[in-house]
């Protein structure tokens, strides 16, 4: 089935316009793009962790979702979905529900990498038929840009401020995608908004329609937290991918596959220099922070390439196709 952007965007939107997310926010794009991967005839129940997304899309008495929707708390989105999915199984068995439902959860990095990790781990281990989508914007944006375990090293956040002594966050970004993969989830992938969105669209489809508890980690930039101009959202994503800061890959039943390889890997400065949260790294005397960042990105990239190679799939990838 060839990917056709025109056809994809002609589908009825399942996230209505008029929600209250900021201009240049990645969260709305993540939701709209993932939901577009649903077969139009399928119904869905959407779960949100408490987040910018939740408070902006379901402010009483208006909901932006065309589908059924539930939000309960910050740290329990996966467990809440698990309950809905269990109800679906039993009510279908009893003939009380006849429609085909899919279960899609959206949480930010705070609600997923940090406070919701236990709940996510439990749901993954139990293998509910659901997709957990982390819209990763690398900090607690809803409460005012505090650092999370997803915030990259050296980023300036309100609880890891860049100061005279400390150049921003001291710790490395947690690799949640690997943690989820270690649960043995059938389908795990990293993606972001790139080109015609083919990569995201295909991964979302696989995540939704592969039976089991699957996971998508979608880099979803935040103009307030990252400090870029709202119109540069797509450029942020492109640079994250072209510098290999955000590698695009999937792990399907344990098999790693690189889904996009930059023709020429750009230096990390290209990504860092466009964002206010990294501005202090370019001050005299802080050169080492950029070197460290480059080293970290290179190591992670090599690791992913090695894993893809071991999976025997690396050579079969078709780098660059996504940009068509």
């Amino acid at each position: 089935m060839a990917y056709d952007l025109k056809k994809e965007v002609s589908k009825k939107d399942r996230l209505a316009g008029g929600h209250r997310l900021c201009a240049g926010c990645g969260a709305g794009i993540t939701v709209r793009s993932v939901l577009r991967a649903l077969n139009p005839e399928d119904k869905a129940v959407i779960t949100n962790a408490t987040s910018c997304l939740e408070v902006s899309t379901f402010m009483y008495p208006y909901t932006a979702y065309e589908d059924s929707y539930i939000h309960s708390a910050f740290e329990n989105a996966a467990a809440t979905t698990a309950g809905v999915e269990a109800a679906y199984r039993v009510l279908r068995r009893k003939g009380k529900v006849k429609d085909n439902f899919k279960f899609i959860t959206f949480g930010g990095d705070g609600g997923t990498y940090d406070i919701g990790l236990q709940s996510l781990s439990g749901a993954l281990e139990r293998g509910h038929d659901m997709v957990y989508v982390c819209y990763d914007n690398e900090a607690y944006m809803n409460t005012g840009i505090q650092r999370s375990s997803s915030t990259p090293r050296f980023a300036d956040a309100t609880t890891s401020p860049a100061g005279a002594d400390l150049p921003g966050k001291q710790q490395k970004k947690k690799d949640l995608t690997l943690i989820v993969a270690a649960h043995g989830a059938p389908y795990v992938a990293q993606t972001t908004f790139l080109g015609n969105m083919k990569d995201l669209s295909e991964k979302a489809y696989k995540a939704i329609y592969t039976p089991g508890a699957n996971f998508l980690n979608i880099l979803s930039p935040c103009p307030r937290g990252w400090r870029y101009e709202t119109e540069d959202l797509a450029e942020m994503c492109r640079l994250a991918v072209e510098t290999c800061v955000w590698p695009m890959y999937e792990i399907e039943n344990g098999v790693w596959r690189l889904t996009y390889e930059p023709k020429k890997k750009l230096p990390v400065e290209e990504f860092l220099s466009k964002q206010g949260r990294f501005a202090h790294m370019f001050k005299a005397g802080n050169e080492w922070t950029i070197e460290e960042t480059q080293k970290g990105v290179d190591e992670k990239w090599e690791m992913i390439l090695r894993n893809c190679e071991i999976s025997g799939k690396y050579k079969n990838t078709d780098p660059g196709k996504t940009e068509e």
Partner: protein, 423 residues
């Protein structure tokens, strides 16, 4: 024909759950409620129920799965104790505000610290303002009966219900029980058919909004109204249950209250011990009575006040400390309910039985003795008292005598100290 059997309180709740055949049960092990999901998962494994049993990774997720399942249109239930209930705390409020009729057995146990696995009411009292209906049980029979009624009360009121029983005392103690036949229970609870739910074919539903200040307060007011409106429902369900079984359930039970001079108000299994004390004192000609409160939420303010004002002095028993320096939670509310009455009995509070400290028939004698002293002196003394505690403040006898002069009955002491006190 009713089935005569012997069961622990936990086995009885699991048995009721089998008969109810809920759609989803999400549960996590914690002493002393663990046996409920254990017994129930055996029913699942043996194919005796249609339930999706979710063995979650925490009580937080247990309540979260119940919230998800209930919102999706399923009949959902769980059981927990102590720290497990405390861990659910945030979600209790969410379940109640989303008006999800979840039924939960709370097997009452103390809260840490220090860690202690035995019974008191600290756990459910900590959740008393979460918007759940709370029903307390004296015996295995009562927890079984209350649990079956709880499902119906929850679904008619759209308020989640906690059915409480005392950890180990009734949860693990095996006693005679009269079980109801399966078809009668199924008929009594009926099918769960909510008006709106996530999986409804006709229209989608959104649950759990961001409620900004122009709406939040109205939502809370409606919840408060629902709690008020649940009072006749609880009585109706009790009457229907009575028609089925012959067993009576109201907001509280009055024991030997008709001509009583003094009385005790108590919840849970201690009421049984209290009744024994009442019987023995009655045999000696003392006109003593007991009120066993069954429904703590909604608080039956007016009927309870009417029952208490029959006597000259009442001792209100709290198996939980609220550290308010003004007495326990039951005392605060029961005593406050007396305020509007033209005639008020003296009302004193005993904090007792914390962390599984035994309460004996003799302890109830002491309380009744105190109540008679209060009536005689026309002075309540210290209204905030402890029962059955060793208190370092009373080690020195001289100090104790001075303290007692100003705060009569303020402390009851065990063993050697107690003998000294009684001399």
């Amino acid at each position: 024909m009713p089935i005569r059997d012997r069961k622990s309180g936990n086995a009885a709740v699991a048995y009721a759950m089998r008969q109810i055949n809920p759609d989803v049960v999400g549960a996590f092990p914690i002493t002393p409620s663990t046996e409920i999901p254990e017994y129930f998962s055996k029913y699942v494994a043996d194919g005796e129920v249609d339930t999706e049993f979710i063995a979650v990774e925490s009580e937080h997720s247990a309540m979260s799965t119940c919230i998800g399942a209930s919102a999706a249109g399923a009949r959902a239930m769980t059981a927990t104790s102590s720290a497990g209930l405390a861990y659910m705390w945030e979600l209790l409020y969410i379940a109640a505000s989303c008006r999800l009729p979840i039924t939960m057995c709370v097997v009452n146990r103390s809260l840490s610290g220090p860690i202690n696995i035995n019974n008191d009411h600290s756990d459910s009292m900590g959740a008393r303002d979460s918007g759940w209906i709370q029903i307390y049980s004296e015996t295995n029979q009562e927890v079984y009966d209350n649990f079956i009624q709880g499902v119906v009360i929850a679904e008619r009121t759209r308020i989640p219900v906690m059915i409480c029983q005392d950890g180990f005392i009734t949860s693990h103690g095996v006693s005679n029980i009269e079980l109801i036949e399966d078809f009668l229970v199924k008929n009594f609870v009926g099918e769960y058919e909510p008006d709106n739910y996530l999986l409804k074919h006709e229209n989608p539903l959104a649950v759990g909004p961001y409620g900004i200040s122009p709406y939040y307060m109205e939502i809370k007011r409606e919840q408060a109204q629902a709690m008020k409106d649940s009072m006749p429902v609880i009585l109706d369900v009790g009457r229907e249950f009575n028609a089925m079984t012959g067993r009576k359930y109201r907001f509280f039970e009055e024991y030997m209250m008709d001509d009583a001079d003094v009385a005790i108000v108590v919840m849970g299994s201690s009421a049984g011990t209290g009744k024994e004390a009442v019987d023995r004192l009655r045999a000696e000609g003392k006109r003593v009575g007991l009120i066993k409160l069954r429904v703590f939420r909604p608080f039956p303010r007016r009927p309870l006040a009417a029952a208490m004002c029959k006597v000259k002095a009442v001792a209100i028993m709290d198996k939980a400390e609220s550290f308010s320096n003004s007495g326990g939670p039951l005392f605060s509310e029961a005593r406050s309910s007396l305020y509007d009455l033209p005639y008020k009995p003296y009302a004193i509070n005993y904090i007792y039985g914390l962390g599984g400290r035994d309460i004996r028939v003799e302890d109830f004698y002491d309380i009744f003795k105190d109540l008679y002293v209060i009536c005689e002196n026309d002075d309540p003394g210290d209204v905030y008292r402890y029962l059955g505690v060793r208190d370092s403040r009373y080690i020195n006898e001289e100090q104790r005598m001075i303290y007692e002069e100003y705060h009569p009955g303020a402390a009851r002491v065990y063993g050697k100290d107690k003998e000294a006190y009684e001399v």
